[in-house]
């Protein structure tokens, strides 16, 4: 049998087991809740702002933005401001000016803003959990239901079975990410409108020598930023997918493999508290998942850790996991 057909088989199997549908369902419900919450918060913020300033009808945001621009310009002229701050100040002016020019209240949200901020929140826990659901029974599912016997008695080399399952997983991960961007745009658009894709967003922060460097900060349009965020999320999905895949090769029961992956993931976020002092923790995959923080500059800078480091650590885990599953699966005795 050709590899292509094997992959096709795997994918259709996942679809007809309703696993993928379940994941998309969860995504839909969560995105809907999240959008509603965001809308609620924005409204509350606006109310608070109005109350605080004491304007009864509605506060005049464009005037406020104009004043902020003047204030930032004043700051730019200050010779005592470090150069590294100037780049972000310029982008702030650009953002405010864009909002004024296009009549956008800076407090409000849009489908564009929402879809990237949703994924920034989801990248380190929610997306990995969905991927674990998808990947953790890839192999152990066959073992626990006994179908692995049927699979291996067919005239297909073992490595082909493993590789086809892995490729199927890579494709399913793309599907999950593509659907999450589609769903988050469609659903949040109902709340905030479908625009906002061309608004400028700050990007280009770097972590150099344990300090956040903002000297090369510039603006990119929202669509490009969103694309980058989802691309990083896909990378995270691939890494988590490979590791769960390995666990599902090593462990015979699906619930055990899901349990192992989930506890590692949750435990890892606790370990990330030690990342600055305890060097060993930075080589764990769980603490390196927040890749989007490097983009948005919200990262807590630690010496020696930057996006390249995190990506290398994650890649090493993914490659290692794949090699281990490959070796283990092609050489193990299967007794069912």
């Amino acid at each position: 049998m050709k590899l292509f057909n094997l992959v096709e088989n795997e994918i259709l199997k996942t679809i007809f087991k309703k696993r993928l549908l379940l994941i998309l369902g969860i995504l839909f419900v969560l995105i809907a809740l999240f959008s509603y919450g965001e809308k609620y918060t924005i409204q509350k913020n606006k109310d608070q702002l109005t109350k605080r300033i004491g304007v009864s009808a509605s506060y005049n945001w464009s005037k406020l933005s104009e004043q902020q621009i003047i204030s930032i310009k004043g700051r730019l002229d200050n010779p005592y401001i470090p150069d590294s701050e100037k780049a972000s100040l310029r982008v702030q002016i650009e953002q405010l000016q864009y909002d004024i020019d296009h009549g956008i209240n800076p407090v409000s949200s849009s489908a564009g803003k929402f879809s990237s901020s949703f994924m920034e929140q989801a990248i380190f826990m929610f997306i990995p959990l969905l991927i674990i659901m998808l990947a953790a029974d890839m192999m152990s599912g066959e073992a626990s239901t006994g179908t692995i016997k049927l699979l291996l008695t067919r005239n297909v080399p073992r490595w082909k079975i493993l590789v086809s399952k892995f490729l199927a997983l890579l494709i399913l991960e793309v599907i999950v990410l593509v659907f999450s961007i589609i769903l988050s745009t469609l659903v949040s658009g109902l709340f905030f409108g479908y625009g906002g894709w061309r608004e400028p967003v700050v990007a280009g922060f770097k972590v150099i020598g344990g300090k956040l460097d903002a000297s090369n900060v510039r603006s990119v349009p929202q669509w490009q930023y969103t694309l980058m965020v989802y691309a990083l999320a896909y990378f995270v999905a691939v890494v988590i997918g490979s590791i769960s895949f390995m666990v599902s090769v090593l462990v015979k029961s699906t619930s055990a493999s899901i349990g192992i992956m989930m506890s590692t993931l949750v435990g890892g976020t606790i370990l990330s508290f030690f990342i600055a002092d305890w060097k060993f923790t930075r080589y764990l995959f769980m603490v390196n998942l927040r890749l989007t923080d490097y983009l948005s500059g919200s990262v807590q800078p630690v010496a020696g850790i930057n996006i390249t480091f995190s990506v290398l650590v994650l890649s090493a885990w993914a490659v290692g996991a794949f090699i281990i599953s490959f070796v283990r699966f092609t050489t193990q005795d299967i007794l069912v």
């Binding site: 004043g74 770097k206 691309a231 983009l295």
Partner: protein, 267 residues
């Protein structure tokens, strides 16, 4: 048949999706890694360091340092005290006024301490007759958003840190200049309309402890702003609901000018 359509649909989505995501990944990596331009050294106006003696005798030098209020945020011209303080002082003295503003938005007590420790301000401070400091607003603002239950505890920790930073900062200033008059602006509460009794208590405590610390220095004065703003929020607070507006800056300026009038005349 349905299976086939579904499968090809998935292949197409996956293929396009994969290519796009790879491009995005490459962009994300290039935009946030690699070497940054080395930030060029900040060139300070050299006039501060090289005042001749005669110049100095005929000039009153004022340095304004601290947070956004020191820098002038909220003022329509963005100049703040650098504009209004000379207007208030010029008919009180025959000397020329020279004002240098080194305030930076968002600064907290720890930031002016490191600003002072860097030594960049040493020359400036050495030649200053008056040093106006506004700091602490950003420190205390982190408390105001917290829930009531842990407010008290975190307030104590925060205030201790703030007071020790401030004390250290004053010590550094005193190394450069023994006799310059330090004018310290007290904090006000811009959120009066939405704040609780506890918030008011906290800010009063904060101000009175700061006052004590400032007054322990022989050449320093604490100028309160709390009372000025309390019933004048609509008049003195800018649209951002946080900083003084032009009127607010003028009001605080004239208060500062009155506080130091006696010294200005004699200096």
């Amino acid at each position: 048949m349905l299976k086939k359509i579904m499968w090809y649909g998935i292949v197409v989505i996956a293929f396009i999706g994969f290519i796009t995501l790879s491009l995005g990944f490459y962009q994300a990596l290039t935009i946030s890694s690699g070497k940054a331009k080395t930030a060029s050294k900040i060139s300070l106006p050299n006039a501060n360091g090289s005042l001749s003696a005669s110049q100095k005798a005929n000039q009153l030098n004022i340095t304004i340092m601290g947070d956004s209020i020191a820098r002038g945020a909220g003022d329509i011209t963005g100049k703040g005290f650098t504009q209004y303080l000379p207007e208030d002082l010029k008919n009180k003295t025959s000397k020329d006024l020279s004002i240098e503003d080194v305030g930076i938005d968002g600064y907290r007590s720890v930031d002016i301490l490191s600003q002072l420790q860097s030594g960049k301000l040493d020359n400036l401070l050495k030649n200053s007759d008056f040093i106006l400091i506004s700091i602490g607003g950003n420190d205390i603002r982190t408390i105001q958003s917290q829930s009531e239950t842990n407010k008290d505890q975190s307030f104590k920790a925060l205030q201790d840190k703030y007071l020790s930073d401030l004390k250290a900062s004053i010590n550094i200033i005193r190394k450069s200049s023994q006799v310059a008059t330090i004018v310290f602006l007290g904090s006000y509460n811009p959120y009066l309309k939405t704040s609780s009794v506890e918030d008011t208590r906290i800010i009063n405590l904060w101000n009175s402890n700061t006052d004590q610390l400032i007054e322990s220095d022989p050449h320093a004065v604490f100028v309160p702003t709390y009372d000025l703003i309390k019933y004048n929020i609509d008049k003195y607070i800018a649209l951002d609901g946080l900083h003084p507006n032009t009127e607010g800056y003028k009001a605080i300026s004239s208060r500062i000018a009155e506080a130091i009038e006696g010294l200005v005349v004699s200096k």
